[in-house]
């Protein structure tokens, strides 16, 4: 087991607040990704605009590339699909919207939001529910890490491993769908509980993970493939998070110091690290984490029955005049993810989201300087950025 880093680290910043591993403080500056394209450019350089809707992009994003033609001087990424999400209505209404901030990380978002809300209310979820949330997040991590590998194989033109990985992603979705009735965990979780009984088919999942290991090894053995990744997008930054941080050798992982750390500690979490800080290191970390996630899932004592669904309605009258706040913090597949929720007079009055894609977007733009055009899609995919959570504003 790896010791928790004793030095406080930064988790993210948003709406004038900075979140560290030991505190939340007002920063007074914008959390927007910095623009790395300078207004004064040398003769012969141009700004190449790619997106917001373009082939090769899974989501909409505007990418401005400052270049002489091949060498990249700077990159700026603009989220065009900015969604304003209301915090009005009841807790269950806001929860539905939180599930849909980033569908592919819905389990992580929901867990962090509910943990924050439970702290605001001064209650704790039963241990079975906490373990169930860990299981959902690890399933999400397995799917996402396979997805990142698939995107990299697709960009490299490797059709067979790309198809193999799409097959495995679909199979993971089916395991999740059979267990939870929904492939993205929508409608499954609630405050202190689950809305349903569920049971995970670990045998099917084991076969998927075994098959992934074989495809992943095949990719790592291929010089043509790894040449696209090694030395691409090198970033060693103390402000990094998730697989990007671990690929640079940092022991940064909310599974060690976040809200669910107790569950992971009981299972002896092994933090996967690399030392290259490049796209290859990030893929290596993600690929090996699939095994670790499955090991964690196998070690959990899942007792996932319908649980406490009526807690909120049962206590609603008691909470009418309630005020409080709380922070929920988990390790999503792309790094630290946190919500800070303020409740006033029984209603949610403010939600701060510290999304991993905001941090990873900054790391991506920084790491692109000095690279060439052909590096861009590989470096982009290696960070596992979802623009859906970058373009969200809670109002």
């Amino acid at each position: 087991m790896v010791a928790v880093n004793p030095k406080p680290r930064i988790i993210g910043e948003t709406d004038g607040y900075k979140l560290y591993s030991d505190r939340l403080e007002e920063a007074g500056v914008s959390g927007e990704p910095s623009n790395l394209i300078s207004k004064v450019r040398p003769g012969g350089s141009l700004v190449f605009e790619y997106g917001p809707a373009a082939g090769g992009l899974l989501e909409s994003a505007g990418v401005d590339i400052d270049t002489f033609g091949e060498y990249i001087r700077g990159v700026n990424v603009t989220p065009y699909k900015v969604r304003r999400i209301s915090v009005s209505g009841g807790v269950e209404d806001v929860l539905l919207r939180v599930e849909r901030v980033n569908g592919c990380f819905a389990a992580s978002h929901t867990a962090a939001f509910l943990l924050a809300l439970e702290k605001a209310y001064g209650v704790e979820a039963p241990q079975d529910v906490v373990i169930g949330r860990v299981a959902q997040i690890e399933l999400e991590r397995i799917r996402n890490n396979m997805f990142v590998a698939q995107r990299l194989a697709e960009h490299a033109g490797f059709s067979v491993p790309s198809a193999n990985l799409l097959y495995l992603i679909e199979e993971v979705n089916r395991v999740i769908g059979r267990a939870f009735g929904h492939r993205y965990f929508y409608g499954v979780n609630t405050l202190r509980g689950f809305r349903m009984d569920w049971q995970l088919d670990l045998g099917a999942l084991k076969n998927i993970v075994d098959e992934f290991r074989e495809v992943f090894r095949g990719l790592l053995d291929n010089r043509v493939f790894i040449d696209r990744l090694q030395g691409n997008g090198v970033i060693v930054d103390e402000g990094s998070i998730g697989p990007a941080a671990r690929a640079a050798g940092y022991v940064y992982d909310a599974r060690l110091d976040g809200d669910l750390a107790g569950v992971y500690a009981g299972l002896g979490l092994s933090v996967v690290r690399a030392d290259s800080g490049d796209a290859f290191g990030r893929l290596l970390v993600r690929g090996l984490e699939v095994d670790e996630s499955f090991r964690i899932l196998s070690g959990l004592r899942l007792r996932a029955g319908e649980n406490e669904v009526d807690w909120l309605s049962g206590s609603h009258s008691d909470n009418t005049g309630f005020s409080g706040s709380g922070l929920g913090w988990v390790e999503s597949p792309s790094g630290d993810l946190a919500y800070h929720v303020v409740v006033r007079d029984g209603k949610i009055s403010r939600v701060l989201l510290f999304a991993p894609s905001n941090v990873n977007l900054r790391l991506f733009t920084s790491s692109m300087v000095g690279n060439v055009f052909t590096d861009l899609p590989f470096n982009w995919e290696s960070f596992g950025i979802w623009m859906s959570e970058v373009g969200v504003r809670f109002v």
Partner: protein
């Protein structure tokens, strides 16, 4: 071992018929009065009738309404038989959570294999037969959506995919004026593929 041999050794993974669909992505049917109001957040239940394109599958209507397992939810308002053998799709994300994008991509998985039905992705609207719109319409993407539509050659279809596009879902009131409506939050790859096949004159899947 090279990838070709590895690919052949995997065997055929493509399914003849849908086999494994997540319950809460299928049609909801009335199963009796379980007491209380469904309190539907998107008004997807009106007068005891389930409106597919508004449903976000929050499960608040359970147990009065329960999944039937029928994944064929797409509504085809216009069929273009000219696309029967070759149907190129250009997807535009105008404000999704990412789940519709992921499910849409999975119609290309070996299990579904859209290409056997003559369905393909294209990276430019100039080569597209249909514009697949996903997400709630955001101001930043309105112009890009308009330009993509105008760039497409005739004849062309507009396909609204997912609750946000078909009704505004949880985040908006605006729905996309579409020839093909594919409900779901998100719709499963089976639902998407079935609707696409029917849109080009097939019997569905």
């Amino acid at each position: 071992m090279n990838w070709f041999i590895k690919g052949v050794r995997k065997g055929v993974k493509t399914e003849r018929a849908p086999t494994d669909v997540a319950a809460w992505s299928t049609e909801l049917g009335f199963r009796g009065d379980g007491g209380g109001s469904p309190n539907c957040p998107t008004s997807a239940i009106e007068g005891g009738v389930w409106v597919a394109e508004r449903c976000v599958y929050c499960r608040r209507c359970y147990p009065q309404f329960q999944p039937t397992g029928n994944h064929r939810l797409g509504k085809i308002k216009r069929v273009e038989k000219v696309f029967a053998r070759s149907f190129y799709l250009y997807a535009i994300d105008v404000g999704t959570c990412g789940a519709c994008n992921a499910e849409f991509k999975l119609i290309g998985s070996p299990q579904c294999d859209m290409t056997r039905f003559g369905i393909f992705f294209t990276n430019t609207p100039r080569h597209a037969d249909a514009l697949v719109v996903m997400g709630v319409m955001t101001e930043g993407m309105r112009e890009a959506f308009k330009k993509a539509y105008e760039a497409m050659p005739e004849p062309k279809l507009v396909i609204a995919l997912g609750a946000c596009a078909t009704s505004g879902g949880l985040f908006g009131e605006e729905k996309i004026d579409a020839d093909v409506v594919i409900p779901g939050c998100p719709p499963s790859p089976y639902t998407i593929l079935d609707a696409l096949i029917r849109a080009k004159g097939g019997e569905g899947w």
